[in-house]
Symmetry: C2
Subunit: 385 residues, 2 copies
């Protein structure tokens, strides 16, 4: 059986025209990068060919988009076993679509040599630190401003990320927002190392006196205590932009956590309007009017069909329902071993790969068989030339 | 005699359809901010109500655009005598046009609390320092990348600035690029304090062994030794964007200096392709293909008709000809004393005010009598509410 180009993994009944509405406005790609020291805990992340390269991954990903090479690493990031960063999928889609993009820095340890919109200047700390994300309200407000500006610019926003360690912070934030996420998240290795991540999350929550759902009264606290800087910025961008234009949260379980944050904030508008960040009063009043029906998640089939995760269960538990789509990517027929290794679960998602692949399919009516050669060409240009 | 809404100050014969071409694509405002220690030399700048406030001016201007108030100052910057920053004109135009905008940081001493695209991280030094702008090639390349991205985004680019002290660095850069600029520049005070600025420029050039035209072989050297960070970034943005879309350099003599830099670079493509900034080879090869016919300058009538300056002479000396337009702003009938003081020369231009006023006139068919009330409303909202 051939996989469809676009898989409708989860689609609430009242929002079945979402992709049709996307198609009315051309795509604009935003890649938000951030660090979390959580990624440095052994076993959490397989981004980067070796542990000491993990902090370079996000910078290298966005340098690859801009320059076709990663200046800070000398090569595109890759999994220790060999498969290259999913940024090659994003690069293929950006070229095919001739789409504009921006990099947003939510707080990254290594500064890439690319122009970036600065939303935050502090890398995230470990989920075991007293506060994993400092100044979380400020980050959220900067995201609101970015989203407001991008909305004036009439596109479908595709909001990707590069945050090594981000599936662990996603699991933790979902738990604090009342979602049973243990054992259900995806990640950049076969099997996803669920038990280690689960232990970490449970220990961090226990040490901070947090229980499942205990951040629902003040949802940004989930990010403050257990999350990463990307989550706060991304939620802000999506919420203000959604008032005007369609927004695709571009990622797997990391974006389900962002969607959980948005839904929880919409369910507790008082938590938003209580924020006292200077100058932000009007912005926060507008954030309350975010339109959830303008937000969806898009990822890869490697995530949506990942047997070691359960994105369907996560989607069903969201505080406000929204759709999840997956690009039917399949590298099993690729002539390049390092690409076909994607089929074994070594890399599944990142840098907006799923949503950008889906955009290429949606806007240019491609399927996997026609899109894969474009990805192979990017791979060959980088590695074999 | 009533002033026309749009004054065609200088319009080369082969480019008389420039504004018609602009009208095909909606405006997108970019404000590039930078510091130069040149502004701290007594008498150079009248930005900010007092000398110690000068470094805050650019940050306050862009905070005003985003928040309607300057968080870092507590109020909108103003001239010592009272007239407010021209940012109020830009704010009125942005609201009228509902235009998107971005702030680009070329290297500003005070970090505003707004999301900015970072092109540079080092504030400019004084034109009396050995190098006024360090890493000028890197700044230029970052500008090229930003322009390339913005061009994908189908708008007319309006490139403004907030750089206190920037008319002095403009005079110096023009001189180093072979333009007789002494006594011809405009500035933010009646009479423009020409003699002081002239003395400074002559002394800096003498001390560095530079003569009129001595940077023509390597035009970025004019900025390195005598300029400010905005000039390099702005030239980069304009050159790469001009390959695809119309670009309005939004300012007075500061933008004539940027136009001089662009023209000089186009006359010496070898100086561009000799730059060895990592990853930039393809970008620099494209920069050589900048289309000067897609670039024009737009300013205010306070600059174009400034009797203490001579923009017509400067325009005629440019290495590559391009048009200069002026918005026919006239505040003499304003009910607010601090606005009518604009007519006495205390404030003439800045934060893209002239080009954004011109855009409001061009796209929404306004003239001064219909645009002034919108500016007065912004003024009243800020100062009288």
């Amino acid at each position: 059986m051939t996989m469809p180009a676009i898989i409708k993994v989860h689609e609430p009944e009242n929002n079945r025209d979402f992709l049709d509405r996307c198609r009315q406005l051309p795509p604009f790609f935003v890649c938000t990068i951030a660090s979390t020291e959580t990624a440095l805990i052994p076993g959490v992340s397989a981004a980067g060919a070796s542990p000491e390269l993990i902090p370079y991954t996000a910078a290298a990903d966005v340098e690859a988009i801009v320059y076709g090479q990663a200046l800070c690493l000398g090569k595109i990031p890759e999994n220790p076993v060999g498969p290259p960063s999913p940024v090659i999928i994003t690069m293929a889609a950006l070229t095919e679509l001739n789409a504009p993009f921006l990099v947003v820095d939510a707080g990254n340890a290594i500064t890439p040599k690319v122009p970036m919109i600065t939303a935050g200047r502090n890398p995230g700390l470990s989920i075991t630190a007293p506060e994993a994300v400092v100044q979380v309200e400020e980050l959220f407000v900067q995201g609101l401003i970015i989203g407001q500006q991008l909305a004036l610019n009439r596109h479908t926003l595709v909001l990707g990320e590069s945050v090594p360690g981000g599936t662990t912070t996603a699991m933790a934030v979902m738990e604090a927002l009342g979602i049973s996420a243990l054992g259900k998240i995806s990640g950049s290795m076969p099997g996803n190392n669920q038990s280690l991540k689960q232990e970490l999350v449970c220990r961090a929550m226990r040490e901070k006196g947090l229980k499942q759902g205990s951040s629902l009264d003040n949802p940004l606290n989930a990010v403050r205590f257990l999350g990463d800087p990307m989550q706060a910025v991304q939620a802000g961008i999506a919420m203000s932009a959604s008032r005007e234009i369609p927004v695709l949260l571009a990622g797997g379980t990391q974006m389900i956590a962002v969607a959980a944050l948005i839904g929880a904030l919409l369910n507790r508008p008082a938590a938003l309007t209580a924020i006292t960040t200077p100058g932000a009063k009007a912005l926060l009043a507008e954030a309350v009017e975010a339109r959830i029906e303008n937000i969806a998640i898009a990822t890869t089939a490697w995530v949506s069909e990942d047997k070691s995760a359960d994105v369907r269960s996560l989607m069903q538990q969201l505080p406000q329902a929204l759709p999840l789509y997956a690009a039917g990517l399949d590298f099993s027929t690729s002539c390049h071993k390092n690409l076909s290794l994607y089929e074994e679960g070594y890399v599944k998602e990142g840098v907006g790969a799923g949503a950008m692949a889906l955009s290429a399919m949606l806007y240019h009516d491609l399927d996997n068989s026609r899109f894969l050669p474009l990805i192979e060409k990017v791979y060959e240009d980088i590695y074999l030339s």
